[in-house]
């Protein structure tokens, strides 16, 4: 068949348009993903890792050259924003198009992936498990899943929630005296909820563009955490061992009231704050404290993101009194899972062993990671990163648990309960009605899923 020049040009133009259209429709993959797929076709020794765009992903990306040099295996990381990441992973798994070897995920996503057989144990042979030095990971017991309890998840970062506070304000002599005069005790990081409220009240000075505390009121798991920590303080929980809800009670009501009360010492905008708004407020020095996670303590050390470098301390979210040993707190492990369809499982294991070694965790941490290994937390970086010690203390002094490790966990913690929190905070429901509605939704969900 012979094409005229004009027709050939038209077809070429059409092809170009189709390619452009297809590339435009291909979602938010980074350049590396395209490269990853191309490379994968041509080179079987390419490891593809899916990850949420985050500082911790940046951290493990920084050690890729070392790994490539040592093992001769190329690593490509496909990143996407948190909002799209979970959906993207699920759709890839369900459509049997999981063309990646490892995924970097929060531990809460693992039960669902394991139950559906999308992922495979990291290792089953004892010799290989020993190579990973698992005893060095606090909470590693939570990483075993399935009826035969296999290791499906290898932690890379453990995050805890706490209170970040401005050491320059807390250590200022004039502030200390004024606080002592007003409240009758010394200004120091809060040890009880009452102290936390007093300090938040003391530093609430809108005229000076300073608020007592940065909180997050967005309808998401972020406002949920504010409620959960207080719920645990009052002896409540999400559900018991029989999956019966434990929040529609006196503890739940007290927790809602406590959380709402604290918003009077936060910026009016805090009721709508998500993660970035809140971290930006604290890092720009517009609040004395922030109820957030360790990641922000890490960001506070970066002069490109923070105006309060070297002026930030970190402490636990207090219980109602100083005794915390039996108070539950969530911690958030992020780590790697291995896809069942991966044809590079040996290289994937090599990466896991390499990236989670103490040496590499210490090397990557300054880029934006909080190491999951105790040895890395207490090692040479401890003096440089002042929040490592309180972070490790939180992990040892509270009854630490992960977010619910059932597939419905994210719906309960990320939607049903935050809905109740914001409905109460904004006056749409009374505390009683908000919790009652949440309990009904919880019961319906669990019943429909066969619990």
């Amino acid at each position: 068949m012979v094409f005229s020049k004009k027709r050939s040009f038209t077809m070429l133009a059409a092809l170009l348009m189709v390619s452009l259209l297809l590339s435009a429709c291909s979602g938010s993959k980074t350049d590396s993903s395209t490269a990853a797929e191309t490379d994968k076709a041509s080179d079987s020794k390419t490891l593809t890792i899916m990850a949420e765009t985050s500082s911790h992903a940046d951290a493990f990306k920084s050690i890729i050259p070392d790994f490539e040099e040592k093992y001769g295996v190329k690593v490509n990381v496909v990143e996407m924003p948190y909002d799209q990441y979970q959906q993207h992973l699920k759709l890839k798994f369900i459509s049997d198009q999981a063309e990646f070897d490892l995924a970097y995920v929060p531990i809460g996503w693992v039960p669902e992936f394991q139950l559906a057989d999308y992922i495979t144990p990291i290792a089953t042979e004892q010799a290989k498990l020993d190579e990973l030095e698992l005893d060095d990971f606090p909470g590693i017991d939570n990483a075993y899943f399935g009826a035969d309890k296999q290791l499906y998840f290898l932690p890379y970062m453990n995050e805890t929630h706490g209170i970040l506070y401005r050491t320059d304000l807390f250590e200022d002599a004039a502030e200390k005296k004024a606080f002592q005069d007003k409240y009758g005790y010394e200004l120091q990081p809060p040890q009880t909820m009452q102290q936390y409220k007093d300090i938040a009240e003391f530093f609430t000075r809108p005229d000076e563009n300073l608020y007592g505390v940065t909180l997050m009121g967005e309808n998401s798991i972020l406002s949920g955490f504010g409620f959960y920590n207080r719920l645990f303080n009052y002896g409540g929980d999400l559900y018991d061992s029989n999956y019966k809800q434990q929040f529609n009670n006196e503890a739940g009501l007290n927790a809602l009231n406590d959380f709402k009360e604290l918003f009077q010492y936060a910026s009016p905008a805090a009721k709508q704050y998500g993660w970035s708004d809140a971290s930006s407020e604290f890092l720009q020095g517009r609040s004395a404290m922030a109820e957030m996670a360790t990641t922000v303590a890490q960001m506070a050390q970066d002069p490109n993101q923070s105006t309060i470098v070297g002026k930030v301390g970190f402490t636990a979210i207090p219980a109602n009194d100083a005794n915390t040993s039996d108070i539950k707190r969530f911690y958030l492990p992020y780590g790697f899972v291995m896809t069942k369809n991966s044809d590079n499982q040996e290289a994937a294991f090599q990466w896991l062993e390499f990236a989670t070694s103490q040496e590499m965790m210490e090397k990557a941490a300054p880029v934006g990671n909080i190491p999951a290994r105790t040895s890395a937390l207490t090692g040479k970086l401890a003096s440089e990163y002042s929040f490592y010690k309180p972070h490790a203390d939180i992990m040892n002094s509270f009854r630490l648990e992960t977010l619910p490790l059932i597939p419905e966990g994210s719906t309960i913690t990320g939607e049903i309960l935050p809905n109740a929190v914001v409905k109460y905070m904004f006056g749409e429901r009374s505390a009683e009605d908000a919790l009652k509605e949440a309990a009904t939704e919880f019961d319906e969900l669990m019943k429909s899923r066969g619990y």
């Binding site: 979970q86 959906q87 699920k90 369900i94 669902e112 139950l115 559906a116 009121g217 967005e218 309808n219 998401s220 910026s267 009016p268 905008a269 009721k271 709508q272 998500g274 708004d277 407020e281 517009r286 597939p407 419905e408 994210s410 719906t411 990320g414 939607e415 809905n419 914001v422 409905k423 905070m425 904004f426 006056g427 749409e428 969900l445 429909s448 899923r449 066969g450």
Partner: protein, 293 residues
Amino acid sequence: MPSQPRERLWFVLPGVLIIVLVLLIPILAALGLSFFSYPLQRPDLGIHFIGLDNFKRLLADTTFMNSLWRSVQFTVGAVASEMIVGTILALLLKSHVWGKSFFKVAFMVPMMMVPVVVGVAWRLFLLPDFTPLGPIFQFLHIPFDTSKLLTDPGWAMFSVILADVWQWSPFVMIMMLANLQGIPDDVYEAAQMDGASRWKTFWTMTLPLVAPALLSVAVLRAMDAVRTFDLVYILTSGGPGTATEMVSVYNYKIAFSRYDMGYASAVSTAVMIVLAVVIFGALYMLSRGGKKR
């Protein structure tokens, strides 16, 4: 020229195929899925036919009803405002004003922006810590607490409508300007000779002549407004509380937070049915209006 009906069918076939592939199959798939239980979080539970259970659940779901009502409030508020603002801008641009071409392009800029960007920009513009409105109101001695704009449930809906009006009034303006330019000048000359005032000319001549176009544009905008998602999601995430949680946001949460795909399909099917009834009603009115003339 083909004369046989069978030969003519070949010419229609590509168009029909595209409609079937692009339009009908996804709609039928969504409709079909709404009769099933399909918890994406629990692939081990599989997909089960449950008849009309999802729709029964929907009718008893007060959160769905509330979100639908919020969508109606948003759609009526936004589309009515856009029609008024867009028509005023079109009338101004049709008259002899300086810099007409510049303003025509300048007014269209918001329409060219990605809704997510509009959401982020308006969020920064309205969040109490960032908004420049506080000092402006203070300078003008207007006693208004600007922190309410995104944090007070009543004002938050107003803010979302405001952002939508800002982005989409230019669309109404362009459509109306095209219609206004189609009205012959001699109509206005005759009105002028009869001594009609400008207001009377607009009310009794311009408006009736552009009314069918106005209704068409309103229908198009209403369809779009009911489906608005990205702007609301970025600007307020459905908050404060659930004050701006419209049906599109609720549908998203059911699909991608609860991963209840069967129920999510039932929600979108119900919205499609409600929307179809309203739109067909409006189009019927439009065609009846045309026949009367």
